[in-house]
């Protein structure tokens, strides 16, 4: 399960719990939208570390893709999956984009170009409302 980990740690925890047996890796937005947002993102995602299978620190496999470039994000996902398949072939893959809209677009592009017809699915929790301002910044 690849989780595009954004600021909403409750959502990260919730989706991770919904597939508790899946091995989780997180994809963080780097470069982030603004200079301080990367550190803030790491701190927020860390709050869901228990559900991600890591209680003693940031030991979960972490990858990076820009928060504002869907093409590089799609490319990064493709690289991650190719590497994983080389070491142990995947039977089931969940993509869970919970970060920026642009990064979500990158997940979609990757799915459409390389995963159609495979055992992969996108988990996307649709929200009725969301907070426009997520933080005051560092």
């Amino acid at each position: 399960m690849i989780i595009g980990a954004g600021y909403d740690d409750a959502l990260i925890a919730h989706t991770a719990e919904s597939k508790e047996n899946a091995r989780k890796v997180q994809l963080l937005g780097l470069p982030s939208l603004r200079a301080d947002m990367y550190q803030e993102n790491v701190l927020r995602a860390q709050r869901a570390s228990e559900q991600l299978g890591s209680t003693g620190g940031p030991v979960i496999d972490t990858f990076f893709a820009p928060a504002n470039d869907p093409f590089v994000t799609a490319n990064a996902l493709s690289g991650i999956i190719k590497d994983e398949n080389r070491s142990r072939p995947l039977t089931n893959l969940y993509l869970c984009p919970l970060a920026t809209k642009v990064q979500t677009l990158g997940f979609g592009l990757y799915f459409l170009t390389e995963l159609l017809g495979t055992g992969a699915s996108i988990i996307f929790p649709f929200c009725k409302t969301y907070a426009r301002e997520t933080s005051r910044g560092i």
Partner: protein, 230 residues
């Protein structure tokens, strides 16, 4: 920094979208192989899996055909990419635009020159776009006025803080005046709080980085390794 260099679109563009021969990256803005631009290009090349013949020093753009005359070394190169870690004030980019791009554009009018940095202040970007001959100027992280330590929009004093902004500025200015009298709050009043693992720019407050053995005694949090001019 390594990850930032890997994830930018410039490296991917150099890998995929363009003919290698027509694309040259340069540490020209530093112009000296002992400075940090070279360090940056080394990591950029590694992370993006690029061949080393795409990278040259500024002086290699031209070849000398006699005293005071220089000609373009390779007319087949159509895109020059200049990389640097920081544009704090834009002064360096302006200087090298004068020293390199004026001749380059004269000798090869169709050549495109891009200036890309990891971090740039909004002021520096405007300055470079307005006053240089770079065709494309961009950065990964743009630092607006809120990243200027004591500006009206400063992000560092927007809540409960131990020292109010005015007191903090007074302290930094007081010691800054002793350490670097010409630029007590950083080069050209940049007032930045930024440091890289390889060095601290002089745009950052001098109280953070000052460590000159021939100057006043001071123990900085993040030392700046000065460029010694002999």
């Amino acid at each position: 920094m390594r990850k930032l260099l890997a994830l930018g679109s410039v490296g991917k563009e150099m890998q995929n979208g363009h003919s290698f021969r027509n694309f040259i990256a340069s540490a020209a803005l530093t112009g000296n192989p002992s400075e940090s631009g070279t360090h940056l290009l080394y990591i950029f090349r590694q992370e993006n899996n690029l061949p080393k013949n795409l990278f040259i020093n500024a002086h290699e753009i031209f070849t000398s055909s006699g005293v005071g005359t220089r000609t373009l070394r390779d007319h087949s190169i159509s895109r020059y990419v200049f990389l640097d870690d920081l544009a704090g004030s834009g002064t360096q980019a302006e200087a090298y635009s004068r020293e390199i791009l004026t001749d380059l554009k004269h000798m090869s009018p169709s050549a495109q020159a891009a200036y890309y940095v990891l971090f740039a202040t909004t002021r520096a970007l405007s300055q470079i776009r307005a006053n240089t001959r770079f065709d494309n100027v961009n950065c990964i992280y743009e630092l607006d006025e809120s990243f200027r330590c004591f500006s009206d929009q400063s992000r560092y004093f927007n809540g409960n803080v131990l020292f109010p902004k005015a007191t903090s500025e007074e302290i930094c200015r007081h010691y800054g005046n002793r350490l670097v009298p010409a630029h007590p709050l950083g080069y050209k009043d940049s007032q930045m709080l930024l440091s890289f693992h390889h060095n601290t720019p002089d745009n950052t407050l001098p109280v953070i980085w000052f460590d000159d053995p021939s100057g006043p005694p001071w123990h900085p949090i993040f030392r700046r390794y000065q460029k010694l001019e002999l």
